[in-house]
């Protein structure tokens, strides 16, 4: 008789959601977390998209620990000392049912895990899963770093985040390719609430999410700037192999972004509270492992269900979505007494039928596109160049025509019309 029906490894958003759903379905669940409490060591950019919670925790917005509701999203293209910004505002995002919010992970993850506990899951912190227990090919539990630390279960759900070595140990991952990973670095900068309100032109608990392209020099990637209640999160996402090749330090590149004339006035006078870094699975759909094995499921970052290429940073929502699906599937399989790979296939079906897989499948080329030379180098330069020429008054010379300007800029930046069109079509296909 195994110790538990279900063991969930990792009390991040994926794990908490999985444990919540499995416990709700009446299964005995153990949720293992290596940190002293859920979320204690987890870092990310800062925005959580909450739609996925609607079914999981009705009226979640009334109790979730959030910093600000995002009501303004900007996309910034940078080149040299210039920047072009597309700014979108939506005040209905600041009302129920809301859209995205900035939140602190130690608070958010702990809250979500407490929901699982309330549903009956047993949370064990300060405990690291160090390996899988197997019976033949079947996973029957995990080994932990505690003395006498073996724990058995009918299903193990791996929610142990990026680089999940449990999933790897289970043989669910193809050999890893560093090109599939990016590095996220982030600084938290303290500023008083009023200053943030004023600088970002928001009020109350409304906040801003700025994504930046063209701020990472020769390394493909992107930048972000989010508003918390009384701090800002400024960070970069950088392609790992290119970063290593260029020999620059990420904190140096972040300092450069902070000094840019479009960013510096926003953060001026703030006090840096902390600096953190984390690896992100960037390639999304293309690098996903097998999600199901005998007695094992993989969810969240552990399954590379994260969209984090350049300006794209969505992962928590996918983690919750996939975790919940895994929890439900595991509970059902236990109930039906078939926790083999076949018995767990329900997980796949659930994923396919909701946003998790469809988004990932649809956007499978997106990381590649966002990290391409076109998006990283040429587009920002052309956009800025066009703007510069368009708005620089050259009297008494007459103004050049827009088409001429664009063509000139494309030429200057070595972009052939043919390539632009083909890339544009690809983008349409990807995002359409």
């Amino acid at each position: 008789m195994p110790d538990f029906d279900v063991i969930v490894v990792g009390a991040g958003p994926a794990g908490a959601a999985a444990a919540l759903e499995a416990a709700r379905a009446g299964r005995s669940v153990c949720l293992l977390e290596r940190g002293p409490y859920p979320g204690s060591k987890n870092m990310y950019g800062g925005v959580i998209y909450g739609r996925v919670l609607d079914t999981l925790i009705p009226n979640w917005w009334e109790e979730a620990p959030i910093q600000r509701w995002v009501t303004r999203r900007s996309t910034m293209l940078m080149a040299g000392d210039q920047a072009v910004t597309v700014d979108y505002r939506c005040s209905s995002w600041g009302e129920a049912p809301y859209n995205g919010a900035t939140a602190f992970r130690p608070e958010f993850d702990a809250w979500l895990a407490s929901k699982a506990e309330a549903a009956g899951a047993v949370l064990i912190c300060s405990t690291t899963a160090t390996g899988l227990l197997r019976d033949g090919t079947r996973v029957v539990g995990v080994r932990t770093d505690r003395p006498d630390g073996d724990l058995t279960a009918q299903v193990v759900i791996c929610c142990d985040g990026v680089n999940s070595f449990l999933a790897k140990e289970a043989g669910l991952y193809p050999p890893s390719d560093p090109a599939n990973y990016t590095l996220g670095v982030k600084e938290t900068i303290l500023l008083p609430r009023e200053v943030i309100d004023e600088r970002f032109a928001v009020r109350g608990d409304h906040g801003v999410d700025i994504e930046i392209l063209g701020c990472t020099g020769e390394v493909p990637g992107g930048g972000f700037l989010y508003t918390n209640a009384e701090s800002l999160a400024v960070g970069l996402v950088l392609s790992l192999p290119k970063l290593a090749a260029c020999g620059r330090r990420p904190e140096e590149m972040l300092a450069e972004l902070k000094a840019h004339s479009a960013i510096a006035p926003l953060i001026e006078g703030g006090q840096v509270k902390e600096y953190s870094a984390h690896v992100i699975p960037e390639a999304g759909y293309k690098m996903m492992p097998e999600l199901i094995g005998d007695g094992i499921l993989v969810a969240g970052d552990a399954a590379a269900m994260c969209l984090a290429a350049g300006i794209w940073l969505e992962g928590v929502n996918f983690a919750i979505g996939s975790g919940a699906a895994a929890g439900q599937a595991a509970a059902r399989a236990v109930q039906r007494r078939d926790t083999s790979s076949a018995g767990l296939q329900d997980y796949r079906r659930r994923l396919d039928s909701n946003f998790v897989m469809s988004d990932h499948r649809k956007l499978r080329e997106a990381p590649h596109l966002v990290m391409s030379d076109l998006a990283q180098q040429q587009l920002p330069r052309i956009a800025c160049g066009v703007m510069e020429q368009l708005f620089t008054v050259t009297n008494p010379d007459p103004k050049p025509g827009l088409r001429k300007i664009i063509r000139g800029q494309m030429k200057l930046n070595n972009l052939k019309l043919r390539d632009a069109i083909s890339q544009g079509m690809k983008a349409l296909r990807t995002f359409g």
Binding site: G80, V195, P265, E268, G269, G270, Q271
Partner: protein, 662 residues
């Protein structure tokens, strides 16, 4: 010791400072036509960016009768407000609060600029200006009080976060407080309460004007160090009265009187660190208001110690931040060692004030030139290979400027260590801090990746061998041979030697030593002292009116006199060497033509030197891209060497201009 107190925020009434380092008030001479300038804004903003907890501007005059020096800001003129705005906006961008110091200098002024009689509590002439002031009547006192309120109002409009009343070292309020200058018999004179009356009235008037939103501070002098002046006990009593008004948010402190004991306010390196801390300590023990301690703080650790020992709540660091605007930021980031420590040399900050020139710094070419962008990196597209000859201040600054812009710089130095003449200059008692010039430059070179090679005497062949793209010659100066030098004694091998020979240990004079001072700076005096300490009988002779003439400008004169007296050094002025006969030195007292003779065992010379420029001309003739800086151009002082080095290093252009895009 880890810093802790220094980074703790503190509330000064309505204003919160984020750390305990204050850029306390000081003249800059940046004003033009009585108005603040763009340079003011750039100067203060740079220190705000560098992390200062609080900035207090230079004094602004409250009344037309107060115009002691040309470039004073006329706070009483409404036209200052846009300039104020420019300053406060620039500083506020870095979220640092800024206060305005407002003041009437009273009798410590002259009527030269204002063409109005100088006002003071009593008709007591100031020893520096030597001008008898008009003793103010009751109506004029009321006018002064009102003028403070008026200017405080301008400060509110100008966006300042607070106002500081300078009642400390050069002020009509000080004049009233001090028994030495207040001889009145009305209710503004006599008892301490009476003498402090005007201060209390001004405090009330200013608070009424600025309201509760701005901070109000009072700067008090703890010991005027003049006969019959204010001393610490009275200063503490005044501080208590100030606190009792309930209108004041903090007390700043200072020591000395600007016109009689200025050398104690802006103490040079001869005065021990922490010398004035008995003042804030005594005030702090008596009042609960936060107290600022000031004076020769150049190191964050030293500040931390004063704070944690309870001597003060805030530390004024003025020259420390003139020399390095990033003083606070570097310390906070844990790079205390990278701080460009102030030398307490007073040469280009205090020294230039007396000369009616804008404020600068001997080791920071950017100070005073922030608005012009001096020292801003101008990265080149393709770096050159730059060879710098000579690791004196000129060579090292050239290396810094060039490396900052992206050139690959190597410095070759003949000696085993960097520093050139500065190393010698700093090797005498009490002048070690001058040597920090070298330490600071070396640190900066290290950060910028400049390479050093010691023990390499560079020749034209050596330059050719190395194949540098550009060469900077900073080979310094060598002793000159005066016309009267007997031929057999030239070269410093006999009993007639240069100060450099003494400092380098090449010559070791004993017995009776005659030092000739034709430079009028530390050269002769410091070597004279060194020799007196070694037991020599020293006489210094100068053709000038005083020995070490320029020591007055750097506020070193007073202490030099004290030390010379106690060490038995004889000073003979207005006399020059006419010739040498055997061991007899022939001198002439030039105002009278009287002939004098001396028969010393040693004659030590501090004379204008000769540039070492042969290599420069040789390379130039060979068509090398060569530049020259410092004493190698014309032997002067370290500051010239530094700014020339900076200019030359920054002027080296990109290796291939065609690659430059924008």
């Amino acid at each position: 010791m880890t810093e802790q107190m220094i980074w703790t925020p503190l509330q000064l009434g309505p204003v919160t400072v984020s750390n305990r380092i204050v850029f306390s008030a000081h003249l800059t001479n940046y004003a033009e036509g009585g108005l603040p300038t763009e340079q003011h804004a750039a100067y203060y903003a740079e220190r705000a960016k560098g992390g200062a907890g609080l900035i207090i501007t230079e004094e602004h005059s409250t009344h037309p009768t107060d115009w002691p020096y040309e470039k004073l800001i006329h706070g009483f003129n409404r036209e200052v407000i846009p300039g104020y705005r420019r300053i406060t906006d620039a500083v506020h961008r870095h979220r640092v609060p800024i206060f305005a110091q407002i003041n009437h200098n009273g009798g410590q002024a002259s009527s030269m600029y204002s063409r109005l009689p100088v006002w003071a509590p009593s008709a007591v002439a100031d020893p520096l200006f030597r001008e008898v002031p008009k003793a103010v009547n009751a109506a004029e006192i009321a006018e002064i009080v009102a003028s403070y309120a008026l200017v405080a109002g301008h400060c509110v409009e100008g966006g300042f976060d607070g106002v500081e009343l300078q009642c400390s070292h050069s002020s009509i309020v000080r004049g009233f407080l001090s028994p030495a200058t207040n001889l009145r018999t009305d209710e503004y004179g006599g008892s301490l309460t009476n003498r402090a009356r005007i201060l209390i009235e001004i405090v009330a008037a200013v608070r009424a004007e600025i309201g509760p939103e701005l901070a109000l501070g009072v700067r008090l002098c703890g010991d005027e160090l003049i006969e019959g002046g204010t001393r610490i006990d009275e200063a503490v009593e005044v501080a208590k009265m100030v606190e009792a008004t309930g209108h004041v948010d903090y007390i700043n402190t200072s020591i000395g009187v600007a016109t009689a004991s200025l050398f104690m306010i802006e103490a040079s390196m001869h005065i021990p660190p922490g010398y004035a801390m008995f003042i804030p300590a005594a005030v702090r023990a008596a009042v609960d208001l936060p107290v600022v301690g000031v004076g020769r703080f150049k190191d964050p650790l030293q500040a931390e110690r004063a704070l944690s020992e309870g001597l003060c709540d805030l530390v004024g660091v003025v020259r420390g931040q003139i020399a390095d605007p990033d003083f606070v930021r570097k310390a906070k980031a844990g790079f205390t060692d990278d701080t460009r420590l102030c030398l307490s040399c007073n040469q280009e900050c205090v020294g230039r004030m007396g000369l009616n020139r804008w404020l600068g710094c001997i080791e920071n070419p950017r100070t005073g030139r922030e608005s012009l962008g001096v020292g801003t990196p101008q990265p080149v597209t393709v770096g050159r290979k730059v060879l710098v000859v000579g690791a004196g201040p000129a060579g090292m600054q050239a290396a810094i400027a060039a490396a900052r812009n992206g050139h690959h710089v190597t410095v070759c130095e003949r000696e085993a260590a960097a520093g050139g003449q500065v190393r010698l200059a700093a090797s005498v008692p009490n002048r070690v801090e001058f040597g920090d010039l070298v330490r600071n430059q070396l640190n900066e070179c290290g950060r910028l990746g400049v390479e050093f090679e010691y023990g390499v005497t560079v020749t034209a062949q050596e330059v050719g061998r190395r194949g540098a793209d550009s060469v900077v010659i900073a080979t310094g100066a060598r002793p000159s041979t005066p016309y009267w030098m007997p031929e057999d004694l030239a070269g410093g091998s006999g009993w007639i030697v240069d100060v450099r020979d003494v400092l380098s240990g090449k010559a070791q004079p004993t017995g009776k030593v005659l030092v000739i001072d034709e430079i009028g700076f530390h050269h002769a005096t410091s070597v004279g002292e060194l020799l007196a300490d070694r037991g020599c009988e020293v006489e210094i002779i100068t053709p000038g009116m005083v020995v070490g003439q320029d020591l007055g400008i750097t506020l070193d004169m007073e202490n030099w006199w004290i030390r010379a007296g106690s060490k038995g050094i004889l000073q003979t002025t207005n006399s020059g060497v006419m010739g040498i006969e055997g061991h007899t030195v022939q001198l002439q007292h030039h105002p009278t033509g009287t002939q004098l003779t001396r028969e010393p065992d040693w004659l030590v010379l501090a004379l204008p030197a000769d540039p070492v420029d042969e290599l420069y001309f040789e390379l130039k003739a060979a068509g090398v891209d060569v530049y020259r800086a410092g004493d190698a151009v014309a032997p002067r002082r370290a500051h010239s060497a530094v700014i020339e080095g900076e200019r030359v290093g920054a002027a080296i252009t990109s290796a291939d201009r065609t690659l430059a895009i924008r």
